[in-house]
Amino acid sequence: MADVIEVGAARDDAPPSAAKAPRRGATAGRTGRATPYLFLAPYLILFGVFGLLPIILGVWLSVHQWDFQLPNRPFVGLDNYKQLFSSDSAVFGDWWQSVRATAIFTLLSVPLLVVVPLGLALLLNRSFPGRTFFRAVYFAPYVLGVAVIGLLWRFLLDANLGLVNRLLGVVGLPSDTPWVTNMPWAWISLVGVTVWWTSGFNAVIYLAGLQDISPELYEAARMDGASAWQRFRNVTLPGLRPVLLFVITTTVLASANMFGQSFLITQGTPGTETRTVVWFIVEEGLRNNNAGRAAAMSLVFALMLVVVSIANFRLFRYKED
């Protein structure tokens, strides 16, 4: 904190260059109050076109039965929303199934995606020969597209032909586990693959955070006789708090938006048990041309995520107090 203030203060104190001052004043006079808005304009335009407008349009769609190709797109009020909550609509079962799938995946994957990369980062932050190599190795899967990892693991995890079951058989374990077609294995596979795939990214963020923690703090702690665990608890974790908040929030959102893995690896099986919300929204909106209903689902889902994110922030603020 002190650093920041000092830097700011220094800037304020710096005398404006004599040559520049009058010109700046003249410009300010001419453009007046528009200047800040001009600077903001690029962002505002982007936000307006790609953020605000779609949201407004989404709300508009969600109160219509909307197929842009059909001549009449009747206003249906809150019907699209009601369908999501009334058990005799065609979409009710699928919708809540997908919410359930998304919740299960998020609850299972987030703790692992927060803790495993942290451990990884702590290890990779030590100095040992080959450190760079390992950093690259753990980050490598992340650069692969979901299509690649999806296909790869679908074949590796195939119950009857896959390498995973073959290897398990060789070491005497059951070799007929239905990794991608039955419960609870399908969830275990999806979470496992996701952890393998994306841990590298969170680990890199943690690494950056770890390197920001002043070595003097560790040195001081060591001099006070703090054990490794105590140093972790009292130096590392507090130092990482903002990074943790970032990692947890983005990971929750990323997990809640999971689509590709189950689309490609389990293909929703068994039945539709692993079909996530985002997948179902895509299916409703783009494939089945029920854009209105899909918009309603998106908004309800967005609301759910807002609630979760707020809870996240609350949790962390509480800790800080």
């Binding site: 039965q65 197929d67 842009f68 190709q69 059909l70 001549p71 005799d88 609509s89 065609a90 079962g93 699928d94 299509a147 999806g150 296909l151 679908r154 074949f155 995890l157 195939d158 119950a159 009857n160 032909l161 896959g162 007929d176 239905p178 991608v180 077609t181 039955n182 490609l264 293909q267 929703g268 099986t269 068994p270 039945g271 539709t272 299916e283 783009l286 494939r287 089945n288 041309n289 029920n290």
Partner: protein, 444 residues
């Protein structure tokens, strides 16, 4: 069938290749062999186009080897027709069906679009494509020139929207070396229920699980769809108002198929494409798969295989099938020249569909199908008899999601999550609500 299906499969195929790809990669033999018969095309029935030069845009989803053959054909057409220039744009089917309506309504769409038969009703109801009754009349095309099944499939509300190019059914692939090892005659694939069951029993004795039950649409779902029709069942009633795939025949068909697992002819939990990979590596003997696998299998000379029409397990023959159709896209500004040029193109390509057949499709046109040159493509022509009893999807808009529901119910049965009866009952309950929604939406 199934908009989702086909397209999902195709997406997988494209993005991911391998077994999945096969459906797309109707690849194989290069085209370009026009056997010297260039030029008869635009003649007689075809109504030559004599107007000013026009550019025609054509969209398709032939991203596999079939795309190359298609482009070769189009090039040939262009050189033979000085006043028509057809340009081809190819998209993955998935993108294609999403993109087409928007492009058409904004005036950037193609003039001609290739479309699966099961999409016609939806796109017709959504006003993307034009009626083609007069085209068929001008070209003097009628049911007699095609197989009745595929010709009637181009109708929606008694109006024609598609001119069929080809059809791609499910075929019965048998692994000759595996059959031989089990003491079966590799040149006599089973054709009846009794033969089929007896062969499976022999295979089991030699330690082979002969017929794997894939829980996925590709290809277990399509196999079940064929069986259901063989048992005399249907997906929907005649008006496509109610789902009927939980009828007694449907449950029997499903039970027969899923019981393959209980009887030890199939492992449980077969993964996507596993039944096909197992077939290629000699782990099973029989698989019911699309005609598009022929060219894929030809690339694996080490596999001794044959292909025949599906055995008749139920009370009558039936096979899942779909068909590529030519459609003319509605334009904001009508251009009569373009439309007549498009007709010439459609007719020409239809007459040249022998070359198309080499890409792994059965030509819809009867004279091509009955010609000696088509019969010289043994594997492809072996499946031609299925045209007579092909089970095409019904023509009703918005059926994609309903048929997905059908496949998902089968998935639950095949994975043992529910009994066939329970799975199909649950599926029908949901499908009926979806049909109800569709009725409201499309006002049919």
């Amino acid at each position: 069938m199934i908009q989702n299906d086909m397209s999902r499969r195709r997406l997988l195929g494209l993005g991911l290749g391998l077994g999945a790809a096969a459906s797309l990669t109707l690849a194989g033999c290069g085209g370009g062999d026009d056997d010297g018969a260039s030029g008869p095309a635009a003649g007689n029935g075809g109504k030559e186009y004599t107007g000013p030069k026009v550019d025609l845009k054509l969209w398709n989803g032939f991203t596999g080897g079939d795309g190359e053959i298609f482009k070769t054909l189009v090039n040939q057409f262009n050189t033979e027709h000085q006043n028509i220039a057809v340009s081809v744009a190819t998209y993955q089917w998935e993108d294609y069906y999403n993109k087409l309506p928007g492009a058409a309504s904004s005036g950037n769409g193609p003039d001609i679009a290739v479309m699966h038969m099961d999409q016609l009703a939806t796109f017709a109801a959504r006003g993307v494509i034009s009626e083609l009754d007069d085209v068929a009349k001008n070209l003097e095309l009628s049911e007699g020139d095609f197989a009745p099944t595929v010709w009637k499939g181009g109708l929606y509300n008694n109006k024609r929207y598609g001119i069929p190019l080809d059809m791609h059914p499910l075929g019965f692939y048998y692994n000759k070396s595996v059959m031989e090892k089990a003491g079966l005659d590799p040149n006599k694939p089973p054709t009846t229920k009794d033969d089929f069951t007896a062969a499976l029993v022999e295979l089991k004795k030699s330690g082979v699980q002969g017929f794997w039950v894939s829980p996925f649409q590709f290809t277990g779902g399509m196999t079940f769809y064929s069986l259901l029709n063989q048992w005399g069942g249907t997906l929907f009633d005649a008006d496509v108002a109610k789902a009927t795939f939980n009828s007694d025949p449907a449950v029997e068909a499903c039970t027969w198929f899923v019981d393959m697992i209980k009887q030890g002819h199939s492992p449980a939990n077969v993964g996507q494409d596993a039944e096909y990979l197992a077939f290629k590596s000699g782990k099973n003997a029989f698989t019911w798969n699309g005609i598009w696998q022929i060219n894929d299998l030809k690339k694996s000379p080490e596999v001794q295989w044959g292909v025949a029409p599906l055995p008749q397990i139920g009370s009558k023959p039936a096979a899942w099938a779909n068909s590529h159709n030519f459609t003319i896209v509605k334009q904001r500004a009508n251009n009569a020249n373009k439309v007549s040029a498009a007709k010439v193109f459609i007719n020409w390509l239809s007459q040249h569909s022998l070359d198309w057949a080499k890409g792994g499709q059965i030509p819809a046109r009867k004279d091509v199908r009955e010609g000696a040159e088509f019969k010289a493509l043994p594997e492809i022509s072996a499946l031609a008899p299925e045209l007579d009893y092909a089970a095409f999807p019904p023509a009703a808009p918005g059926l994609g999601e309903v048929i997905t529901t059908f496949y998902n119910s089968f998935n639950e049965a095949a994975l043992g999550k529910k009994t066939p009866k329970q799975a199909l009952d649950d599926g029908v309950a949901k499908a009926n609500k979806q049909l109800e929604d569709n009725r409201k939406k499309y006002g049919s």
